[in-house]
C-alpha cells in the first residue's frame, strides 16, 4: 500500500486520478481503517488529505461559513460561533461515535462514506450546504444531497474529493435541529435520523424550510412535502401533524437488526415533530 500525504488539493486529486488500482482518501480514518481491518477494502493507494490546509479550516467568507471537509468533529464542536449559527449541524456532529472517534472523524468522511445513517449529513443537507468538489478537471459545487447515491456509493468521479462545505448566509430568525433514534444514548447507529432547518418571519410564520431524513432509504432523503407542510404556517399543531404525515410517507426503510420497517416509519414522524419544535424554538430565539 502506497501512502501519500500531499500538501495541496491539486496534488491529491492528481494522485487519485492517476492511481492504477484501488485508491482511497484518508480523512479521519474512522471508517476506512475499519474497512481495511475487516478486508472490505485493500487499497493500493491511500491519500491522506489532512495536510491540506484549506481542507482543515473553518472560515467565514462574506458572512457564509466554509467548513473544510477534513475538519474534525471536535474542532467543529469547539467552534463557538459556528455552534451558534448552525446548532442543528452540530447536533448531528455531536452524535458521531465517541470523543475518540470525533477527535478524528470528519464531515467530509461522514458524507463520502455514504451511509444512509450518517448523523451529520441530514443536518448539513437541511442547512442548504453546498459541497465544493476538487477534481482532475477543476472544481465544481453541488448540493450536498447529490453526493451520496447508495450505501457506500457516491456520485464523485475518479480523482474527485469533497474539499469543503459552504453554508448559506443565515437569515434572521432561522434555526435547525437534528435528532436520531438509537436504542442507546451514545455509541450507536441511527435507526432513523431527522434534520430540519427553517426560517420564520417577524410574525412567526415559516418562510423557508428544508428537511432531510436519514436511515429510512438507500440514501438520505430530502423531503420536500415535509418542508411544504411547514412553509406558510406558524408551525402550529396542524402543520406539525401534516409534517409528521409527510415524513412517514417519504420513509421507505428496510427491516434490519436495528429496527423494523414499521417502527422506522412511525419514528420518522415522531422525530419530525420533536426536531421541528426544537428548530422553531431556536429560530424564535435567534
Amino acid at each position: 500500500m502506497q501512502y501519500e500525504a500531499p500538501p495541496t488539493l491539486d496534488a491529491a486529486t492528481a494522485l487519485l486520478a492517476g492511481a492504477p488500482g484501488t485508491a482511497r482518501v484518508l480523512a479521519g480514518g474512522t471508517d476506512l481503517l475499519v474497512q481495511m481491518h475487516s478486508d472490505i477494502v485493500s487499497p493500493d493507494l491511500v491519500v491522506d488529505i489532512k495536510n491540506i490546509a484549506e481542507m482543515r479550516a473553518i472560515t467565514l467568507e462574506d458572512g457564509r461559513y466554509r467548513v473544510g471537509a477534513a475538519a474534525t468533529g471536535m474542532e467543529i464542536m469547539e467552534h463557538a460561533d459556528f455552534n451558534k449559527v448552525w446548532p442543528g449541524v452540530v447536533d448531528g456532529v455531536r452524535l458521531i461515535g465517541s470523543i475518540q472517534i470525533r477527535g478524528r472523524a470528519t464531515m467530509g468522511g461522514n458524507l463520502c462514506n455514504a451511509s444512509p445513517a450518517a448523523d451529520s449529513v441530514p443536518a448539513i443537507i437541511a442547512a442548504g450546504a453546498v459541497a465544493a468538489i476538487a477534481g482532475p478537471n477543476g472544481r465544481r459545487e453541488v448540493p450536498v444531497e447529490e453526493i451520496g447515491v447508495g450505501p457506500g456509493k457516491t456520485s464523485l468521479a475518479k480523482g474527485e474529493i469533497v474539499a469543503s462545505f459552504l453554508f448559506p448566509r443565515r437569515a434572521p430568525r432561522s434555526g435547525g435541529a437534528y435528532l436520531r433514534f438509537t436504542p442507546r444514548t451514545e455509541m450507536d447507529i441511527a435507526v432513523v435520523g431527522f434534520g430540519v432547518d427553517l426560517t420564520l418571519d417577524a410574525s412567526g410564520t415559516c418562510t423557508a424550510a428544508k428537511v432531510a431524513l436519514g436511515a429510512v432509504a438507500e440514501r438520505i432523503l430530502v423531503v420536500d412535502d415535509a418542508a411544504k407542510a411547514l412553509i406558510g404556517t406558524a408551525i402550529d399543531d396542524g402543520a406539525i401533524r401534516n409534517l409528521e404525515q409527510a415524513a412517514r410517507a417519504a420513509a421507505r426503510p428496510i427491516d434490519d437488526k436495528r429496527g423494523t420497517k414499521e417502527f422506522r416509519v412511525e419514528i420518522a414522524g415522531v422525530l419530525a415533530r420533536r426536531a421541528t419544535r426544537i428548530a422553531a424554538e431556536r429560530a424564535r430565539q435567534g
Binding site: 479521519g28 480514518g29 481503517l33 475499519v34 471536535m74 470523543i99 475518540q100 472517534i101 451514545e186
Partner: protein, 158 residues
C-alpha cells in the same frame, strides 16, 4: 514495499521507527516501540482500549496509521506517572478498585485525563458521556466514574 521511516515524539521523547504503510499506530507503539501499555480491544474504534493522545487529541490508535504520526506528538499511558509517583487518576483508580482485569484501564486513564484537562470539575453525567467510548466489561463503570470524580476533586484542591 520498503518500510516507512517515521519520526515522532512519544511521551516527550523524540523516537523513530520503521513500519508498514498499513500498520496502525497501536501496532507501531506495541510492536516497534515496545510500549505495550496501550491495549487492543476491538480494533474497530468501539472500545477505547487503544486510546492515546495525538497532537493533544484523544483518539483511537487502532484507527490511526502509524505513518500519520510523522512529526506529531503521541502521549500514551507510559507517560502518565512521574517516575514512581502515580498520576492522581491512577492512584484513585487503585483506591476505588476501578479495575479488575485491567485491559481497559490505560484507555480509561488517558481518556479521563483528557477530560480533566478540559474540564477540571465535571458532573457525573459529563464523566459518563465523555467515557462513553471506553468499554469495561468488569466493573460496571460505577467505580471508574467515582474514581474520576474523586481525582478531579483532589486535583482541584491543589
Amino acid at each position: 514495499m520498503a518500510r516507512k521511516h517515521v519520526t515522532t515524539t512519544v511521551n516527550g521523547d523524540e523516537v523513530d521507527f520503521l513500519c508498514e504503510t498499513d500498520q496502525t499506530l497501536l501496532s507501531a507503539l506495541r510492536d516497534e516501540l515496545q510500549l505495550t501499555g496501550t491495549k487492543e480491544g476491538c480494533g474497530t474504534g468501539d472500545c477505547g482500549a487503544c486510546s492515546v493522545m495525538l497532537n493533544g487529541r484523544l483518539v483511537c490508535s487502532c484507527l490511526t496509521l502509524a505513518v500519520e504520526a510523522e512529526g506529531k506528538t503521541v502521549d500514551t499511558i507510559e507517560g502518565m506517572a512521574h517516575g514512581e509517583e502515580l498520576h492522581p487518576l491512577q492512584r484513585k483508580f487503585l483506591e476505588h478498585a476501578a479495575l479488575q482485569c485491567g485491559i481497559c484501564t490505560p484507555g480509561f486513564l488517558i481518556a479521563s485525563r483528557a477530560l480533566l484537562e478540559r474540564n477540571p470539575d465535571p458532573s457525573e453525567e459529563e464523566v459518563r458521556y465523555w467515557l462513553a467510548g471506553n468499554l469495561c466489561r468488569c466493573t460496571g463503570y460505577h467505580k471508574i466514574v467515582e474514581a474520576v470524580l474523586d481525582a478531579a476533586a483532589e486535583m482541584r484542591g491543589r
